[in-house]
Every structure is written in C-alpha cells, then in structure tokens.
Symmetry: C2
Subunit: 667 residues, 2 copies
C-alpha cells in the first residue's frame, strides 16, 4: 500500500509505503527538513504543516507544539506516519545547512550521527540536589537529546564535572551519551570511514563539523599472508585452531596501523574520533567482528549478520577464550600451553575508548556492505531520473547490481583471481612496475607502466584486459580466444607483431616487452581471463534476462573499485566484460565503497537510506540456477568486433600515476 505525498512549496511529489514517516519520505525525495536529532522525535525541529491528509497527533507533537499549532496541522515530520495521500508544507530551513559533495556527484547535507553539545551546568547546592547524571540528562533534554549512557560514563562523571566547574562537552553518538569532556571541545569532532577489502583497506579521517577529509590512507590487509581471496581466509579459520582469532587480530592490527599513521599525519587525537562507519564484504566484516565465517562459504551461504549493526570499537578485541572451534577434530592443534599471541590488540580498534562502529547492511553472502555503500554513493536505487544503471565491482568476486529507482537486482559472480593478476604467467598486483595499459600498432606495442619510466615487471589486471582486447583487435587472437599460430600469422600480421609470437613450454604466447624483460601473455592467460570475464558477463546476462532488459536499455555502466578505475572502458567492452554500450557510458566511479562509507558517516539520514537499500533490491543467487552454466559457456567468447574497434581510435587512458613508455620492435 503506497500513498502519494505532495511537498510544498517545491511541488515535488513522491510515493511511499504505508507507515513511512513524512521525514523519511521527504529525505528520499531529496528534500531537507531541519533536525538535530536525526529523526528520533527528541529535538522538535522537524515540524511541517500537513495541509491535506490524515496525521494523528502523537506524544512528541504535544511536547513540542502548541495547541494552536496542532490545530493548524503542524506535526513533527519524524513522528507523522503516512496512512493516506497527503499534502505537506515544509518550512524553509532556518540555518544554512553545511553540505559536502561526495560519491558520484552526491550532494550530502551534513547531519552526522555524532553531536557534541557544550553544557554550562548550574552547580548543585542544598536547594538543588539533582544528581550528576540527572543534571546532564536535563540539560541535554533541553537541547533536544534524549540519550542513554553506560557504566563507564557514570564512573567518569563526579570527577569530570567537579574538575571542570560543571562546564563540559557531551559527546553523543546516535542515542548514546558516550563521553563527557571538560570544557568546550566542540571544535574537535572526527569520525573515520573504512572500506575493509580482502586485498586492501582504506581509512579516511573525516571532520564531522565541516565534512572535510582530513587524512586518508590505504594499506594492504594484513590477513593477506593467509590467502589472497575470501575462500582461503575462511579455510584458515576452519582448519587452524586459532585461525579466526588470528585473522581478526590481523585486520584490527591493519586498522590500528593505519590510524597510527593518519593521526600522526593529521595531528588529530584518536580521543576525538568518536565514530567509525565500516564497510566491506560479508566475510571481511564477519572476520572483523570475530564471527565464524564458515557458513558464508558453503552452501547455502548464510551470513550470521546481514543487517547493519552498531557496537563499541573497543569490543573488536580478538579473544581466543570466547570462541569454540567448530571443527576441533580436523584442526591442527599445536597443543601449545601458551596463551594466544593475539590477545595483544586488547583495546580493539583504538579510537576514543567509547567510540562506536556502525556497519552498513549486506545484500547477501557475496554482495556485501561495500556494494551497498557503492549503491549509496552512486545513487543507483534513488536517482530520480528513473534510468537503468549497471554497477560492477570487478574482483575475485564480481558483484553486479542492475536497476533504478523502479527496482533493482543484485548478484555475485565468481570471477576467480585473474583480475588480481593471479594465475597469469607474468601477472602481478597493480603496483610499481606493473603494465596497466597496452596499445598494439603495426609498429609494435606501447605500454603504460605504473610508476612511469621504470622497467616493466609484470602485468596488472587492467593491463591484461587491455592487452587481450588489443590482441583481439589486431587479429592476434580470434573471437573464441585462440591465439594465432606463427605460420598463420606470417603475411597476415605486421612483422613487428609476428616476431613477438613465441612458444613457451609448448604453449603459444605473445611477448609484450623486449626480450630482456620478456613479459609474455600466454594462451592459458587468455583462457583464464575468458573464464573471469565470462563469469561476470554471465551474471550480468542473468540479471538482464530476469529484468527483461538488454544492453540498449542501459543508461550507464558504472565500474567500481580500484580495478574499475584503471581499466580501459573500451577494452572492457571489446572483450565482453561489460555489455556493449557507447564507450562514454562506461564510467569508472572509483572507490565507491569508501565514498559511501563517508556519506553514511557524514549524514545519519543517508545512513538510514543505505540501511534500507536491501529492501529495494532482490538478491539473485546464481548457484541455484540451472541456466547459469549455459549462459556462462556462451559468455566465454569475445563479442564480434565492430569496425570502430578493429582499429580503435580510443586512446587508452593514462592515469596520473602512470606514464607512456613506447617499446620499439626488439631485435
């Protein structure tokens, strides 16, 4: 049951389900309503006038509105729930709300979940014996905050109040009073946005007063030695006695090391970081929380938690004693009498000792909170243009989201590690010396190498896509992925290319560099890439079939993640990794997961919108579908080349961190 709401004076109309608050409906429609409590009914600032429609008077209304106002239809929009169509007048915002531009052109009105309130309390005396805690609650109540608090705070109260002449700053996260600080400390108010990837972890310190990113840094996930992908990480927890504790310790260690550098670099004290929004795939977040990820990894693929959760950063403490292994008999047990070495990160993630962590929801076992953050950052499910977009995060798993404000599907396709450079003869991670762009001309091969004018060391995932696309365009491989034989190539291909065709251990290969560097792409490498891209392309196809759309219906194809940033859109299209759409419609959206985390950190309303994203998305499980294998087999081949492509005019993009190196014909 949906109702229509017309907002005045903007004349914007939206439809929302029964039970939605006017506050949320306005927010989804992109209309800002004043509020300091974020829609909790405690600040009284979000009043609107209901001109038509049914809005019964609620408790909170009576608290904040006069009988005259109630009579005139004024209601708190966060308490007013839709039970009919209605017309609602939203007063102009009094203050000028601060805003930040984040994500993919996403305009975010600052409305963080952390509030710092400076209180000048009256000192108690024999006529005013109100207790410390009640005194603070009364003062916060006046400011519109109705909060909970805990034992740690209570213990700090008598000394902080009396040591500061009862002038303190209350730190509120959500509906919890987490700390009191002596004096006026409102200026120092920070949070962190974190994207925990299987390979790397990105952390940004964000100023919650201004929206500015004060420092940002990415680092390798220190779980990496236990396996490159989520499956090997999960295996480690299954077969090593303290595997889970160990992996949790590693990720907590990674975060603490990043924080160490970020706080040193920015001069921001960890005590002034009060909240973290953390996104990542389901396995990574389960490991971070210390929850056994095994049921995620075996059919029927069940995460323990998909909903958004909140907890203390200090509670992310790896603790061997609290976990019982599920496979004691199959576990390697070194029978060590020593206590676990992983008790070391005993303070969890070291922010303010009472800082809270919030996660975003997962859509399913293999479409995680990082993708939800990406959907938030790209506005895929909310863009009022109603146009269809395809979001692909290419990695070991390819996460695929297809949809618009009218409905969205999501799935995960097991791509394997080819895009990460694994299982490729000269493959490597996208780091200094990696080939990330390839152009093949009749005169030879020109390469873009990460780090600029350095000796090429191997091929990164984006270089692999580029190389294979160029080899296909140049006729070195055919549509089935077969590499041309030297004898067939002679006379057909320029000599400068023919001489690069070699055979290594009986396998055909194409040399990208001079003989000295000797970096080659083998027939097997091409097959690996075909499997990887075929899997993702099949996933896209399944979603398009289920939705009854084709590539022509796609308004944009958004490539997320660092791989998405470096990949050449034309090449991705040439090999069939993405559907055939005009090249300008293939857009790299960067670290959309991290952007989404920042948006959720800076705006509680946006976070609530993110938390509701799963309601609007249907998760499609590929492993349950019979037709998937057929579609996958069809998707292995490369699409027919267009005339444009056969000699493409697209120049491969040159990233800031790369520079062109032309490698001439070798002698």
């Amino acid at each position: 049951m949906k109702y229509e709401i017309r907002f005045l004076p903007s004349e914007i109309t939206t439809r929302a389900p029964e039970g939605t608050t006017i506050f949320n409906a306005a927010n989804w429609a992109g209309l800002a309503i004043d509020s300091t409590c974020g829609g909790r009914g405690t600040c009284g600032k979000c009043k609107v006038r209901v001109e038509q429609g049914n809005a019964p008077v609620r408790e909170a209304d009576r608290k904040f509105l006069s009988p005259g106002e109630l009579n005139d239809g004024w209601r708190l929009s966060c308490r007013a729930v839709l039970h009919s169509d209605c017309v609602v007048d939203i007063p102009r915002l009094m203050g000028n709300p601060k805003a930040a531009l984040l994500g993919y052109g996403h305009h975010v009105i600052l409305n963080p979940n952390v509030a710092k309130i400076y209180l000048e309390l009256s000192e108690p005396n024999l006529e005013d014996q109100v207790s410390d805690l009640a005194r603070i609650h009364a003062a916060l109540d006046k400011e519109g905050y109705d909060v909970r608090s805990n034992l740690t705070l209570w213990r700090s109260l008598p000394n902080i109040l009396r040591g500061s002449n009862f002038q303190v700053t209350a730190v509120i996260v959500g509906d919890e009073l987490i700390a009191l600080e002596p004096g006026d400390t409102r200026e120092k108010n920070y949070g962190i946005a974190v994207d925990v990837g299987t390979t790397s972890v990105v952390c940004a310190i964000v100023n919650l007063n201004t929206g500015a990113v004060e420092a940002v840094k990415s680092d390798l996930n220190r779980q990496a030695p236990f396996g490159a992908d989520v499956i090997s990480r999960v295996s480690h927890t299954m077969f090593e006695k303290e595997g889970l504790v160990e992996l949790q310790a590693r990720i907590v260690e990674t975060l603490n090391a990043l924080l160490e550098q970020l706080t040193a670099q920015s001069g921001i004290a960890r005590e002034n970081i009060y909240e973290a929004v953390i996104v990542g795939n389901a396995t990574m977040l389960h490991l971070l929380l210390g929850i056994d990820p095994e049921p995620i990894s075996v059919a029927p693929f069940i995460p323990t938690i998909t909903q958004p959760v909140t907890f203390r950063a200090a509670d992310l403490t790896p603790d061997a004693s609290s976990r019982t292994p599920r496979h004691p008999s199959t576990m390697r047990d070194d029978a060590s009498p020593h206590p676990s070495p992983y008790q070391g990160e005993g303070q969890g993630v070291r922010l303010n000792p009472e800082a809270r962590v919030s996660t975003l929801p997962h859509l399913g076992a293999y479409v995680g909170a990082d993708i939800v953050a990406g959907i938030l950052a790209t506005d895929l499910t909310r863009n009022k243009d109603g146009k269809l977009r395809l979001l692909i995060d290419v990695g070991t798993n390819g996460e695929i989201v297809l949809g618009s404000v009218n409905g969205t599907l999501a799935t995960a396709a097991p791509a394997g590690p080819a895009f990460e450079g694994a299982q490729i003869k000269n493959g490597m991670r996208a780091s200094a010396g990696a080939i990330e762009g390839v152009t093949i001309t009749p005169q030879g091969v020109s390469l873009q190498i990460i780090g600029g004018d350095v000796e090429p060391l191997g091929i990164a995932g984006s270089g692999l896509v580029d190389a294979v696309a160029e080899m296909y365009r140049a006729g070195i491989v055919d549509a089935s992925g077969r590499m041309i034989r030297v004898e067939d190539a002679r006379g057909k291909l320029p000599d400068a290319l023919v001489e690069r065709l070699v055979t290594i251990d009986g396998v055909r290969a194409f040399r990208l560099t001079d003989v000295e560097s000797n970096i080659v792409l083998t027939q097997q490498d091409i097959r690996a890439l075909q499997f990887a891209k075929g899997s993702i392309a099949a996933g896209v196809e399944v979603l398009m079939q289920q939705m009854g759309v084709t590539a022509n219906d796609l308004h944009e194809v958004l490539l997320a993640g660092s791989f998405g940033s470096y990949i050449n859109p034309a090449s991705a299209r040439t090999i069939g990794l993405v559907p055939w759409v005009p090249v300008e419609k293939i857009i790299a959206v960067g670290n959309s997961a991290g952007e989404g985390a920042k948006i959720a950190l800076l705006s509680f309303r946006e976070r609530e919108a993110a938390n509701r994203i799963p309601e609007f998305i249907e998760y499609v499980e590929l492993s349950g579908r019979g037709e998937f294998n057929d579609i996958f087999t069809d998707a292995l081949a490369f699409p027919k080349l267009t005339n444009d492509e056969r000699r493409t005019t697209e120049e491969p993009r040159v990233m800031e961190i790369a520079s062109s190196v032309v490698v001439g014909p070798s002698s």
Copy 2:
C-alpha cells in the same frame, strides 16, 4: 494535570497524570492486564476497549488490531496515553496469571523482565538465505518480542544454531536478547534479588517461572574492615590510592561468595541466572558500581546517579586503571609498581556472563534504593485506603518516609551508631550473647539473650532501647534522661534495683546482670541513645510539621530493617523513638528492602512502579533547615509516661532465637 479513569467491569476508579498509559494506570490501580512484552507495544496482548475518552490510534494499534476493532474503541493499553477522563473496559485475563505473595501482604502477578522463548527455526537453504540473526529476529517478532542484541551474542550464533539443528531457547532481558541456548531450556530461569547493606548483604535466588525463593542467604559486607558506617567507607576512597577499587572489589567478592554458597545449596547453575535486582543505600550502590562516592558525603550531598540503571553484571569489574583519584596529593601512595591486587574479580558478579543488573532509584543522597524498595514492599505510596503511614528504617542513618497515596515526604536523620551497639560501654552487634530484651520488676531484671541460655556478653540496640525504656518506667532515669543518684533512690525504689546502681569512673551506671557478667548501662550510654532517637524523632517531627499532621493522624508506624524486627514497639514508643500511637499500630515489616527487590525482580510492572516512586515523594534535606536544631533539642527528652506505661503490662516480645533468663539479685 490529572485525569480520572474508570475501569470496567471492576468499577475501580483512579486518577493519573497526563501522559500516563492506560496500561500503567491499571497496574497502579492493582488491575492486571494481559501482556508478555511488559508494556513495550510489541506483543499486542494488552488490548482494552476505550468506551469514553480520547485515545488516538497509534502505530502499534494498526499492527495488532483490525479496522473494525479500532472503530469499536479497542486500543493497546500500553500505547494509549491519557489526555482526558475516560472509561476503559478491561477484558478478563485469558490465562490464569501466576502470582506470589511478597512484601507486606503484597500480591504480585508474575511478570518478570526475563523471558525464555523456545524457537524451532527452519533451516536455511538456497531458497531461504536469511541470515542467522535476521532468522532469530523474525521468529522472536512473531512471538511479540522486538529485541536488540550484541557482539557477544552474534559471535555465538553460527555455532549454536548449527550445533542444535536450529532449535534454541532465546533469553531476553528487557528488550535485549542476551543469550541463545541449545534446545529447550525454558525450565531453568532464575534471577537474584539483592539488598546491599552497609553492614550485611542479603541475596535470594528466585525462580522466575514460579516466583519461589529457591535459596536465600545473608552475610557480612566484606567492606566492614574499612569502617562500620558509610562515612568511614567514603573516607577510605578519599585517602587511599586504590580505596575505591578496593571497596568495589570487596562488595563484588561478598556477592560472589554468597552466590557460591547459594548455587551449591540449591543446585542452580549460575548460567541460568539472568537478572539481578540490586537495592541498597546510595553510597553502597555507588561503591558497587565503582563510582566515586565522595560528593554524596559532603555538602551539598550529590549522588552521581539517583535514577534506576541497568548494566551487565560482568561489567562490575574493579579496575584500577579506569579511575582517576580526586585527591592525589592527600593520598597515601605506596608507590607500588605492582598491578592492583583487585583485578581478581575480573568477571564482575558471576551470573550468566551476559546477565543484566538493574537497580531501583534513590530518593536522595541518604534515602536510597533500599528505602524505595521498602516503599514498594509496604505499598506506602499506593495503598488505596489513602491512610497515612510512617516508615522508619533505624540504623546509623534513620530513613523516614511519611505519606500515603495522597502525597509523601522523606528524609534521613543522622542517628549515629548507638543503635548498632557502638559508642555504648557494653554495646555489641545483635549476635549470640547480646541482650536484646530487658524487663525490670521490683524483684530485679530479666533479660532476653540472643542464642538463648548463654552468658550475656553485651547489649544489642534493641536491648538498649528496652533497658532505657524500662529504667524510665521504673523511675531509674527521669524524662530528661538523668539517672537517679543512689542516695535519692534509697526508699524510693525497691532494694533489688537500688543495689544495681553503681558508679564507674565517676559516672553513674545501672547493672543489668550479676556482678560476674557485670554488664552495665551508664549515664553516657543513655545520652548516646537520646541523641540517636532524638535525631530520628526530630526528623519525623519535621516531616509531620511540613505535612501538617500529628501522631493522631498516623494509621501505622512501620519499622523496617533487622533492627526494626527486634525492637520492642512499646519501648520504642516509651523513649520517643516513634510517635505516640497505639502499640498495635507499630509494626515490624522485616527486610522490606529485600522484599521490594524480589517484587521488582518478579514483576516488570512493579519495577516500573518502583521507578516512578520518586516522582510522588518530596525529599526533605534536614541539613538545610534552621528549625531542625530546635526540634532536635526538644526531641532529646523522653515523652511523659502514661499510667499504663508507668507499670506496663506489655511483655517484651520473645523472639524465636532468644529465650528468657531471669537474673536474680546478686549477692
């Protein structure tokens, strides 16, 4: 603003303030409404029909009631808030609610804050990939429970669910899911009710399914070596570096020792104890929570917390590192490099690891949660008879509550330690060998001694009151408290008494025993008692004056605490400790604090009623009142004897644990 509600079919009428829910109003009026969620709007069972009056439809109403029912005036009583007079029909309870008789004739309908719900969950499969946590929430939602949960629970989920074939018992305390147990464990459901006294601690294990007290035990508070009264305990925290941590450790240790014995004796596992309701005076509860009690002890006497609070039992962990001393310069610092020895009780109070503790509110710095519990147990503020009652808890501080359902005052009078047997020449605590009852006849003195036929060792508080009352009745002391001189006594008093008048170190005294035992009561002892009883009597007088009532208006005088149980009512009246009312109106109510804690443990509705008690009571601070000293001076003398008293026919009560010993004239 109060409204009148008439309940049908009972025709009981009550008045309640604007904003009260019908559910609570019915509860205060003693009417039971069905509910499993305890008034949280989630079970949908508390529906009533509003026949007259204004009750707007709320969200929860729409969830549980049909449009037809809504039209007929049916509402969830826990959501329906009073904004006008009304008439409400309460359906007869379907089930037969279990009830227990507790406190002072208090009939308690079982409605504990702990719920154990057995869930037979469907196992996930590829068509049903709902996460573990969402699966549990959905099942609990069906049962009417909308709960929060935490990291510890999430960590336990995957293994507990898969180890029990998804058949588990959910343990809910309040709105928190604190544990999942494999299989059906509903039978094992316990809580503890605790009264933390300055001197002794009482703990009862209560069966939350039946209301039965399974085991109960009292023990000395192990803080006792640090001082007999709250002031010396507070001093210890002020002047010893780790004083606060030490005292917290001692009380946690006391509770754990009691639990050790109670669980052993009852065979109940601590894992099946899920909640504790703890009462005590403000200083004791601050020490238990590890909160600096100093501001309670010095003007203007401000507790950190007066409101009821809830926290994890495991968090009652004495931890030196978390507390900063307030008086570092005046503290004795042994400069020990060793870690605090009080880290030992690192698991807090050892119940189920996730058990919750709730406290009741304090009325003020010196009228604590123990008194609020006593008010609950005696129904002082709620008894529908509307009659005026005086509740006195006699101890180092005398807590005094005067009132009825029409209004109540409370105060604390500093009685000093005389009633505890301190500062009395032959005083002792009420233990074996203590004189607790005294009768003086012309033939001599007869004594009741604790432990029966044993040699008297000293005088307990109740014996002191009895002895002085009898000496006054017999003419050995006069109304001003002066003891008669031997020379004046000769011829006026029987010889058997005159020969007991002695002088010790120049001070007059009266010998209660034979010469061998030589237990005497000195002129100084009588003065000490006068100060103690004068202080309490003055407190009572201040409250009566403020309320504009006299002793004639008192329906009952309730004596609480162990001292109240042993004191002779007639003697208490004779010396003016209590106002002059007929002796049958002076009633010992026993450990009303412990009874109140049990009631609050067994019924969440009663607990909510207890938590609101402070709203109905005005706390009177004696130290701020100029007239107190005058009233106190007047209250030092003994009241004029009535003819009845001069040769009283009242026999001193003989307690079960005592027996009469007649001590004849000594030679």
